[in-house]
Symmetry: C2
Subunit: 482 residues, 2 copies
């Protein structure tokens, strides 16, 4: 039986480092059927280490180098190298987090991180859990809110409960719809509140909707405020929403998956003011702060609620007759059984940099986004969607020369709606830049350039990216849009 | 701004290798408050690389070395080194799986693995998704079953649906209760069917319960059969359950999270016969097969159902105006938004070993479990809970000399119920072995020794582990049990 393979691990650092070099392109795009023809993915036969290395190198050649400054396609990107070190160690120690016994140090590390993060957000004394992503963190919060209001849901289900309503803004993340489906509310129970031009939930409309639903006999369960919307990076008026939640006795959740990282900045943390009133919140350090994917935390103000809501008390795993203090076992507050030790990589990067090191990174990220915003605002052909920065999201159109000066009627905007994806296609195929675009409300497709802690992007790199957009935009001709 | 840290990554291989050496103990157990006093976990201040390395080494010193032969505490353990290589590369490439654009090669790899696995299990032509663990894979399956029966659940929620029932065996995994709570059924909707002495669901009882629930006007939605129960490793009578599911028009799910790996064995795959009739199934290659945590796959027979059930069609992420074939985008069949590329590490180990290499490992795992079973059956003081092997789980009591020969009345068994955890404590504190124990039905606490593909355990190591149990068992005196 061939059980070497241990030697392969030593090759990994080389393979990875080669791909980290700027010589390999951001993306070598192939269409699905082309790539299927290139890659030798079949696993049935087995191969030598040398063959495996060749296959792996090919796979990586055609993979996106997400650590580049020019990867602006999502709300994550480069990683904190300390975080990656932590991720590698976590993988090598292959540990599931359910009991203290099997994960003693890692359990204390998760507790330390939850305490530290809770304190930062002003929600001390509560509880939390690391989960596999922002959607799951939202699910945890809704489940906690529902159990708090109607503990009988656990045994009796949703059919025993009144008609409930969840409130969210039209700019919020789509995961609340998935939650409404999975958790048995149904998507019709989600009330979508309009936003202002800057992307913030209209608090007056939330007020009247809360009132209306109550008068109709429905039970307003939870308001999902957002601190850092996906596209514009808007931060809802958290103090005003907190006041409404108090007034109506509704659970306040803050989805700070993206914007939560601003709590690390001494200059910008005030923009999250009001979050300390939340009953629950979620934050993804794997987004702006550069922890490797996945690293998401759900915080719940009421201590013990996560455990009460989620416990199943499996006798084979969570023993009362253990010889240590089993209150340290985290498994029964989790909906997962096996759970990765995601807190460890965050701990490593935080331990290395401290609050002040992360503060510098957060401040710099906002300042480079501000530089980008200013550059876009003065550069011919570029037009901002919103001219104020809440999170490090800069949203804009590029209007090619042949489009300028014309009347901006519906037809003109329909053309802009096609121009943005076309520029993106040209950028991707030339490997100069991968940048997100999106429509939003009445706005036709526009670019979203979002900045993260890693890699540290310099001003000249921002200008190069804008230049790339301009070059591709100018190369567009009408026939390309048909 | 200190952004080195890249140099730290090179240290990781050394740090990991040192802990892989047999010189470091399996576990250096400290109680929570002792460990809190030893470890310097505070992250607020930041530190140098040298200080960080010291802290990390301390954390790892007190962490469990799950890759040892003597780690028999859970249903996972050592890792396939090719799998770990894959995990490290996946971490370094920090990629989320939602669109083909951002994960071109990794998307094709997930598709390849799902196709290959589906074919192995005889559920070709369907669909699947890698999820963060067995619980989530079960959730996916229940959501698919519910949507198939009542598509209106997505918009209208559970209150619009009839009273539904889920069926599972008393030996099955507790995650179905968590699913019943989270998804809004309520735990009372779970009908727990009794098992025979070997741990298999009583099919006659399932039949009469299905009939009864239907006659009471409730809707039997899903039968959760198990292929490899958590404790005994029992495989339900899948062909008989499939027949009942067909008869009553009920969705058949097979939880093969643990036992699914036997499909890799040419000798034992027949024990999973009947699984090809399942409407959905889940398998965790991170358990027996040694893929690094997390690696779990949910398969659904009906193509397109995962997508139809889970799509939210977020305009910012899943564009119809993309320049490539967006049918390759997997994000809208996922309940997560960001999703790790868990298929890659499995692909690497499978690519290296091929079907035949994994077959050897599966066969050997069963043969070493068989050796353990035979040793236990003949060794004085050891007593098997079940003398037939279904999965590589060997369950037994150790009866110290002072307990032997007495009448085995209730009082005697109460004492045995305390002796097993006591032996486990002594084994852990001496770092000789970490082994699981559990009560089950009428059985008082007993040991479960489960074997996995990695590390490859030798016969003398099995005998050493049994000897360790015997030594610790013999060192017990009555006062220690009070």
């Amino acid at each position: 039986m061939d059980l070497n393979g241990h030697t392969f691990l030593a090759k990994v650092l080389n393979i990875v480092n080669e791909n980290k070099s700027e010589n390999s392109p951001l993306i070598d795009f192939k269409h699905p059927h082309e790539l299927e023809a290139i890659l030798d993915l079949d696993v049935s036969k087995g191969c030598t280490d040398a063959e495996l290395e060749k296959c792996v190198r090919e796979v990586l050649q055609y993979s996106v180098k997400t650590d580049r400054a020019t990867f602006k396609n999502q709300l994550y990107g480069g990683m904190d190298p300390y975080g990656l070190s932590g991720a590698w160690i976590a993988e090598a120690f292959n540990t599931s987090q359910y009991t203290f016994e099997v994960a003693p140090a890692f359990t204390l590390i998760e507790l330390t991180m939850i305490r530290h993060i809770s304190r930062l957000f002003g929600i001390s004394g509560g509880d939390g859990i690391f989960s596999p992503g922002g959607s799951m963190s939202l699910f945890y919060s809704i489940v906690a809110a529902r159990y708090k209001a109607f503990p009988e849901v656990k045994s009796k289900g949703m059919r025993a409960l009144p008609d409930m309503v969840l409130f969210t803004s039209e700019d919020s993340h789509y995961s609340i719809k998935k939650a409404a489906h999975w958790l048995g509310f149904g998507t019709e129970s989600v009330r979508v509140i309009k936003t202002n031009a800057r992307g913030q939930m209209l608090v007056d409309e939330l007020d009247s909707e809360l009132q209306k639903e109550r008068s109709l006999g429905r039970y307003p369960l939870l308001v999902n405020a957002t601190a850092g919307t996906t596209v514009l990076g808007a931060i809802d008026d958290l103090p005003a929403i907190a006041e409404l939640c108090k007034k109506y006795g509704v659970w306040m959740h803050v989805d700070a998956c993206w914007g939560g990282s601003l709590i690390l900045s001494s200059k910008y943390k005030h923009t999250l003011s009001g979050i300390e009133s939340a009953d629950s919140m979620s934050w993804n350090p794997h987004k702006m702060a550069g922890a490797p994917l996945q690293c998401s935390v759900a915080l719940v103000r009421e201590r013990g609620l996560l455990h009460a809501a989620n416990a199943a008390a499996a006798t084979y795993l969570f023993h009362r007759d253990r010889f240590y203090d089993t209150r340290y076992d985290t498994g029964d507050k989790s909906v997962q059984c096996g759970r990765k030790i995601d807190a460890f990589k965050l701990w490593m990067m935080w331990k290395a940099r401290g609050d002040s090191g992360l503060c510098l990174l957060a401040d710099y990220t906002m300042s480079i986004a501000q530089f980008c915003l200013q550059s876009v605002s003065t550069r011919p052909g570029f037009r901002l969607v919103s001219d104020t920065l809440q999170c490090p999201n800069v949203c804009f159109w590029y209007i090619p020369t042949f489009m300028r000066g014309a009347e901006e009627d519906a037809g003109w905007w329909e053309l802009m709606h096609k121009i943005t994806p076309k520029i993106k296609e040209l950028l991707t195929l030339s490997s100069r830049l991968m940048v997100a675009y999106s429509p939003l409300r009445e706005y036709k497709n526009f670019f979203r350039m979002a900045f993260t802690f890693h890699p540290v992007v310099k001003e000249n790199q921002v200008l190069e990216m804008l230049q790339a957009i301009e070059d591709c935009g100018e190369s567009i001709t009408m026939p390309m849009l048909l």
